[in-house]
C-alpha cells in the first residue's frame, strides 16, 4: 500500500468516528422512544388519533295536524368580520357598498352606522366584529357577494361558522306552545317531549386524518344513532293563523295588554289553535310573550256563572224559570255591593225576571239573589261540589307551567269570608286559567264528558305513525243529562238573545257566555282594569269546537265588555270553522225541473212537521213566500226563475236550522 493510500485511509477513519458516534446516539434515542417512552406515547396518540366519535342524532321536527312544519332543525351561520385583514386599497374601495349591503341584508343598523362601526373597529385593531349571530344560508350567500367579504377569509377577513338552529318556519305563530329546548329556555312541547324528539346519539370508532376530519375505522357503529321522532301536534295551521290574526286585531284595536285564544275539538280535547299575545315591553306591537292560556290564573268573572248555575241545577234547588227580583241592579251583602253591569247611580237592573233570563243578561244580582240564599247556611255543599268536580286541581296538561286553580274552602278561615260564597257565584274569589275554564265548557258541549286538553296528535318516524296519543277522559260525567240540556239551551240563548247577541249569525249557530270582570279592583276606579272574555262552542246543536278568548286590560275608554272585546275574536274563529265545513246540497242526476203548482200542498204539509220540503222546480217567489210564512229565513243565491238547489236537503229536520239557502236560476 502506498504511503498516499495509507494517508487517505487514515483520514477516513478519523471521519468515521463522529459519524459512528452520531449513529450510536440515534440508536440510543430510538430505543428510548420506542421502548422506554413507547407505551405512554402510543396511548397518547391513540387518544388523539383514534377515538369513538359521537354521531349526532337528528332532532325530530314538529308538524301541525295539517302537515305544515312548525319547528325543525336547520343549518344557520354566525357571521363575523375582521376589518383589519383587508388591505387599505380593498377596504377603502369597498366599505361604502359593504355598509349599504349590510344595512339592506341584515338591517339592525343603518348604512352609516355600519360604516362607522367597521371603520372604528379597523382603526382600533378590533379583529372580531360579529355581524350577526344567526343567519340562514340564503342570507350568507348574499353576504358572500358583497365587496370586501367576497375576498374571503384571508384577504377580506370574512369568517362564518355553521351551527344547528331550531327554526319555526311559520314564524312566531304558537311559539310559546311549541316552546324551546335550550339550556336556559325550556318550555312548551319541545320541553314536554324532549326525550321523544331528541333521539339518542350514536358513536363510532374513527381515526383522525386531519384537523377536523375523522375516518371511520369499522363498518359498524359502536352505538347506533337513533334519530328523534317527529311530533305531529294537534294545531291546525289555518285555524291557528286566523285565531292569531283575530286576537291581534282585537288587542291592537282595544290597546289591551295581553290576551289569548284557544280553540279545542269538543269530543277529543285536541287543541286546534292556541295564540298568546302580549304587548312588547317598549309598547310597540305584540308577540308570543307567555303562554297565558296555560299559565295565567285569574278571577274568571261571569263565565263562571255557568258553573255556579250547574251546581244549583244539579242540586235541584232551582230551575231556569225560578223568579228572581233584580230590583234596580244593586244588592248589598255585609256592606259590599253586588252590581249589575247596567247599574248607574241608583238605576239599572232588570226587575223581576226568571233565572234563565238573569243568566242570559249576565245579571250579577239575579244570580246571587237566586243562589246565595240557598247555600248561605251551607257553603260547604257548594264548595265541596266544585272540589268533587276536580275544579280545585289543575288539568295536568303536558305543557309545564299550568296555573293553579284557586277555590277557597269555608273550613279555611284565612281565605274564607262572609262574601266569599256570593262573590264566588259570579266568578270572583276563585281563580282559573283560560284553559281550565274552557275544559269545563267543553265538557258541557261534550255531553258532560270532561276531556284533557291535548296538544299532541301522534309521533311519527319517516312518515309512519309510531305512537298515537289517545284522548284522556278526566271525568266521564260532570253533571246529569237534564242539567246539561238546560245549560246548553241557556248558553245558546245567552249568545242569541242575551249579552252575546251581537255575535249571532244566521247560518251558523253558536253558544257561549260573555265575561267582563274587574281585575286589580283594589286599586280603585282609576287603577282597576278589566278582563274581557268569551267562552263557548259551536255549532250550538252539534258542537264540534269549543273556544275561549280572554283579553286583559283593554283600554277602558275604547271598550271593555266581553261581547265587544273578546266576542269578535270568538266569532272570527267560529266563522273560520264554519267556512271550512262545506254545506252539502243534493242534486238529482239528469232531472229536469218542471214547474208544478200542485206541490204547494205537499210543501206546506212538510213544513207543518218541521221537515225541509223539496222546493226544487217551484217558482222562486212561491218558495220564498211559503218558507217565510212558516217563520223561516231564506237566504237567496241567484235572482229569479225556478228553485234549482236548496239547503238543507229535503226531509231534514228544520228544528236546528234558522236559515235555508235557495239557489235559483
Amino acid at each position: 500500500m502506498s504511503n498516499e493510500q495509507k494517508q487517505i485511509l487514515h483520514r477516513l477513519y478519523w471521519l468515521s468516528v463522529p459519524l459512528i458516534i452520531l449513529a450510536i446516539a440515534i440508536i440510543v434515542k430510538l430505543v428510548q422512544i420506542q421502548w422506554l417512552e413507547g407505551p405512554e406515547l402510543r396511548a397518547q396518540s391513540e387518544k388523539d388519533v383514534i377515538k369513538n366519535i359521537s354521531i349526532e342524532a337528528r332532532r325530530g321536527s314538529i308538524f301541525s295536524s295539517d302537515g305544515k312544519l312548525l319547528a325543525t332543525n336547520m343549518a344557520a351561520y354566525s357571521i363575523h368580520f375582521d376589518p383589519t385583514t383587508a388591505t387599505s386599497e380593498i377596504f377603502d374601495k369597498g366599505i361604502d357598498s359593504l355598509s349599504l349591503g349590510l344595512a339592506k341584508i341584515l338591517g339592525q343598523k343603518s348604512s352609516a352606522q355600519w360604516k362607522a362601526l367597521l371603520r372604528s373597529s379597523r382603526n382600533q385593531g378590533d379583529r372580531f366584529v360579529t355581524l350577526s349571530a344567526s343567519v340562514d344560508h340564503g342570507t350568507l350567500k348574499q353576504l358572500k357577494a358583497l365587496p370586501i367579504l367576497r375576498e374571503g377569509r384571508y384577504k377580506g377577513g370574512f369568517l362564518y361558522n355553521q351551527k344547528n338552529h331550531r327554526k319555526l318556519p311559520l314564524g312566531a305563530i304558537a311559539e310559546r306552545t311549541i316552546g324551546f329546548d335550550e339550556t336556559y329556555r325550556r318550555t312548551g312541547l319541545e320541553e314536554a317531549y324532549s326525550d321523544e324528539l331528541k333521539g339518542t346519539n350514536g358513536s363510532r370508532l374513527a381515526q383522525r386524518i386531519s384537523k377536523s376530519y375523522w375516518k371511520p375505522l369499522t363498518d359498524y357503529y359502536s352505538q347506533e344513532p337513533e334519530d328523534g321522532l317527529d311530533l305531529v301536534s294537534t294545531i291546525d295551521s289555518r285555524l291557528q293563523d286566523i285565531a292569531n290574526d283575530a286576537l291581534l286585531s282585537s288587542l291592537e284595536y282595544y290597546k289591551a295588554d295581553h290576551g289569548c285564544v284557544v280553540l279545542m275539538e269538543v269530543s277529543t280535547g285536541k287543541v286546534r289553535a292556541i295564540a298568546n299575545l302580549g304587548r312588547n315591553s317598549n309598547g310597540s306591537g305584540y308577540y308570543e310573550k307567555r303562554n297565558y292560556a296555560v299559565w295565567e290564573s285569574t278571577e274568571p268573572g261571569s263565565t263562571f256563572k255557568t258553573i255556579a248555575l250547574m251546581l244549583a241545577l244539579e242540586d235541584g234547588v232551582v230551575d231556569t224559570s225560578t223568579q228572581v227580583n233584580t230590583e234596580n241592579g244593586l244588592y248589598t251583602i255585609y256592606g259590599e255591593r253586588v252590581e249589575d253591569s247596567n247599574y248607574r247611580n241608583g238605576k239599572g237592573g232588570y226587575g223581576i225576571i226568571s233565572l234563565g233570563k238573569a243568566f242570559q243578561e249576565s245579571s250579577n244580582t239575579g244570580i246571587v239573589k237566586a243562589l246565595y240564599p240557598l247555600y248561605k247556611n251551607n257553603p260547604e255543599q257548594f264548595v265541596d261540589r266544585l272540589y268533587a268536580l276536580g275544579m280545585n286541581k289543575p288539568l295536568g296538561i303536558d305543557i309545564k307551567g299550568e296555573g293553579m286553580p284557586k277555590i277557597p274552602h269555608p273550613n279555611d278561615r284565612k281565605a274564607w269570608s262572609g262574601i266569599s260564597l256570593p262573590w264566588m257565584m259570579f266568578g270572583y274569589e276563585v281563580s282559573f286559567t283560560p284553559l281550565q275554564i274552557l275544559a269545563y265548557y267543553n265538557a258541557i258541549a261534550n255531553n258532560g264528558v270532561l276531556v284533557k286538553p291535548q296538544f299532541v296528535e301522534r309521533f311519527e318516524k319517516m312518515g309512519s305513525t309510531v305512537k298515537d296519543i289517545q284522548p284522556e277522559i278526566l271525568n266521564p260525567s260532570i253533571c246529569s243529562k237534564g242539567t246539561l240540556v238546560q245549560l246548553q239551551s241557556l248558553l245558546k240563548n245567552a249568545l242569541e238573545k242575551g249579552t252575546g247577541k251581537s255575535l249571532k249569525h244566521d247560518l251558523f249557530q253558536m253558544a257561549g257566555k260573555t265575561g267582563t270582570s274587574q281585575s286589580q279592583y283594589w286599586l280603585g276606579t282609576e287603577g282597576q282594569s278589566y278582563q274581557s272574555s268569551f267562552v263557548g262552542y259551536f255549532p250550538a246543536d252539534n258542537p264540534k269546537y269549543s273556544c275561549i278568548v280572554v283579553v286583559q286590560k283593554p283600554d277602558k275608554t275604547i271598550g271593555y265588555y266581553g261581547a265587544k272585546v273578546a266576542g269578535p275574536v270568538f266569532k272570527e274563529v267560529a266563522m273560520a270553522v264554519h267556512r271550512l265545513s262545506p254545506l252539502e246540497w243534493t242534486e238529482p242526476q239528469n232531472t229536469h225541473y218542471a214547474y208544478d203548482s200542485s206541490r204547494r200542498e205537499s210543501v206546506e204539509k212538510s213544513l207543518e212537521i218541521k221537515k225541509m220540503p223539496n222546493l226544487r222546480g217551484m217558482r222562486l217567489m212561491d218558495a220564498i213566500e211559503l218558507m217565510e210564512n212558516n217563520g223561516l229565513k231564506v237566504k237567496l243565491e241567484g235572482f229569479s226563475g225556478k228553485v234549482l238547489r236548496q239547503w238543507p236537503a229535503s226531509g231534514e229536520s228544520l228544528n236546528a236550522i234558522p236559515t235555508v239557502i235557495i239557489y235559483a236560476g
Partner: protein, 110 residues
C-alpha cells in the same frame, strides 16, 4: 486471522448487495413483488378512504345548505300563502272573503 477475513467478506457482501442477486434470493422475488403490490393497494385504498371522508363532509355541508335554503323557501311560501296574508293582498285587489262555506253538490239517483 481467519475469523477476521470472514467478517470482512460478510461486510463486503452486504455493502455490494450480492445477497440480493444470489440464487436463493431470486427465488423469493415474486413473493417480494407481491408484498410490494399489496403495500401499494393498501396505501391507495387508505388515501381513497381519506378522500371519501372529505367528499362526504363536503356533501354533507352542501346538503345542510340546501336544506337550509329549502326550509327558508318553504317558510316564506307558508307565510305568504297563509289565509290572513292572502286576504290582505286580495283586499287590495278589491276581493273579499266569502262568508259562507263552499257548497258541495252531491248527486243522487232521485
Amino acid at each position: 486471522m481467519k475469523r477476521r477475513e470472514k467478517w470482512s467478506k460478510a461486510l463486503a457482501d452486504l455493502v455490494q448487495g450480492t445477497f440480493l442477486v444470489n440464487d436463493s434470493a431470486r427465488a423469493i422475488y415474486p413473493f417480494v413483488l407481491f408484498l410490494g403490490g399489496l403495500a401499494v393497494i393498501s396505501i391507495y385504498s387508505s388515501h381513497s378512504a381519506d378522500s371519501k371522508v372529505y367528499t362526504m363532509s363536503k356533501l354533507r355541508n352542501e346538503m345542510k345548505e340546501l336544506n337550509s335554503d329549502y326550509i327558508e323557501t318553504r317558510s316564506k311560501l307558508m307565510e305568504v300563502s297563509s289565509e290572513t296574508k292572502v286576504l290582505n293582498r286580495a283586499k287590495q285587489l278589491g276581493l273579499i272573503r266569502k262568508e259562507n262555506p263552499p257548497i258541495k253538490i252531491v248527486l243522487t239517483d232521485e
